[in-house]
Amino acid sequence: MKDNYTEAKLQLDHVSHRYGETAVLENVSLKVSPGEFVVLVGPSGCGKSTLLNLLSGYIKPVSGKVFMEGSIRTVYQQDGLFPWLTVTENINMGLRHIASRQEQEKELNDLIELIHLEGFEKHYPHQLSGGMRQRVELARVLGGDADTLLMDEPFSALDYQTRLRMRRELIHLLEKRPRTVVFVTHDIEEAAQLADRVLVLSNRPATICKELHIGAPRPRDLTDDAVVQAMKTILTELGLQTPGKTNV
């Protein structure tokens, strides 16, 4: 067992958590390998965000152990940018460790180019659309030295088409700057399109009720066979698929 801890960047070991009387997580074990893209799906209120908060160290579990290594940054559903800072200043938060001004500037310009926000450097978050704001968030977490990204329903506040576009963009960004990702969503499509591994969580108290590996290369289209197949499996697991049709 010990050997596994050292090779894993991120691990939950028999973790349970409760808020007062409400049991949220029950005996959850999870190991994330370096460079892996893990998606947690489950019904809303099932404890997905609690799981992320445990991984980030923001809360401590009632029982069980959390192992984490390296620096971790989180992307939130919305409003994670500081509204009193411009796009540039927000992204620079992620580049504070870079000592040389020139290098910092270069990195900043690279990131802004990567998220296609040239010309919006001096804008404040409230002057941007929801999609642009989330792109700035992505630039901020990707800039710098974080090894692990935790993403808490980062696209769920966006409209459908923007969401589709952001998934593609995220894959593109991760190709350029590989990271370990733990991504929480209630969106089954999103899980099927993005994940190396999908973990389906049960209702509260949450346990991992299904583990699904998707080997297909990314970017994946919504209508790719692998994506459709994965969605069927997840939907069945959640009891949302008509049972007779699952084997099509």
Binding site: Y58, T74, Y76, F82, P83, W84, M93, Y124, H126
Partner: protein, 273 residues
């Protein structure tokens, strides 16, 4: 570039139309209402609804205004009042804002201090007048003290609750990006509450300006409040009205200055949502 400029729509016409509307809304309409109020005042005097000694006419007030300016008294009183408000208000702000920041971040400190701060907030500053005189005698000090007492408590409470209601997500982000200690305070907590701090500065400045009139009616030998008191003693209500107009206009003017702060780019966000 040349093509672009020639293709541009006739911007000047559009902007002219907009500025015309703004001019009407911002200047002409308010001016019309002011004229109507003056007319109403003049009519009430004309029909002698109140005896002449109890309600001076606009003409009387205008004459007394010129008289006060010529005597140099009005300017002297304005400076005296502005000075007292400035000292009391700045002292209150310098102590209340740090206290509010501290209380906002510590739940137990907040619970400990909240009842006392609330208690003093609901005490009218005018209740302190006898103490002000006994402790500070005459001159600027009692008035400054009263301004301080009037503004310190509401300001501290407003800053405190502003800090306490900062969305927790900002602190989580700050934790992710290693903001700690002083840097957390100056780069996260303070900018997060700045829009609300400026609003509460405007509100408490309003309180200060109201209180200065009453504060100067006792223990002072000059100031706008003293001017009104003097006018009352001499039954010169024309002079009193003239002072009232000055107080109102100055209050508006300084609030206008403070409201300019809300237009700063890193504060504007607080007023956009």
């Amino acid at each position: 570039m040349k093509i672009k400029t020639t293709k541009q729509p006739p911007v000047s016409q559009v902007t002219q139309k907009i500025t015309g509307n703004v001019l009407l809304r911002r200047l002409l309409l308010p001016l019309a209402v002011i004229m109507a109020v003056l007319l109403l005042w003049w009519l009430v005097c004309w029909f002698k609804i109140f005896p002449a000694y109890a309600l001076p006419s606009p003409g009387d007030v205008w004459r007394s205004f010129k008289e006060e300016i010529a005597a140099g008294r009005l300017l002297n009183d304005i400076i005296a009042s502005l000075w007292r408000v400035a000292i009391g208000f700045v002292m209150a702000a310098c102590l209340a804002i740090p206290l509010g920041l501290w209380l906002g971040q510590h739940l137990s400190a907040r619970s400990a201090f909240l009842p006392v701060l609330n208690f003093f907030r609901f005490l009218s500053p005018l209740a302190w007048i006898p103490f002000a005189i006994l402790w500070f005698h005459i001159g600027d000090k009692p008035a400054v003290f009263l301004i301080f007492m009037a503004t310190f408590f509401p300001l501290a409470l407003a800053v405190m609750s502003a800090v306490a209601t900062i969305p927790s997500i900002y602190f989580r982000v700050a934790h992710d990006y290693n903001y700690k200690g002083i840097e957390l305070l100056t780069k996260v907590t303070l900018p997060a509450v700045l829009p609300q701090v400026i609003t509460s500065l405007r509100v408490s400045y309003g309180i200060a300006w109201v209180v200065i009139v009453a504060a100067e009616m006792v223990g002072c030998q000059d100031g706008l409040g003293y001017g009104i008191w003097e006018a009352r003693n001499g039954l010169r209500l024309d002079s009193a009205v003239c002072y009232m107009i000055v107080i109102g206009l100055l209050g508006m003017g300084i609030d206008r200055l403070l409201s300019q702060l809300t237009k700063l780019p890193n504060i504007r966000w607080g007023y956009e949502r």
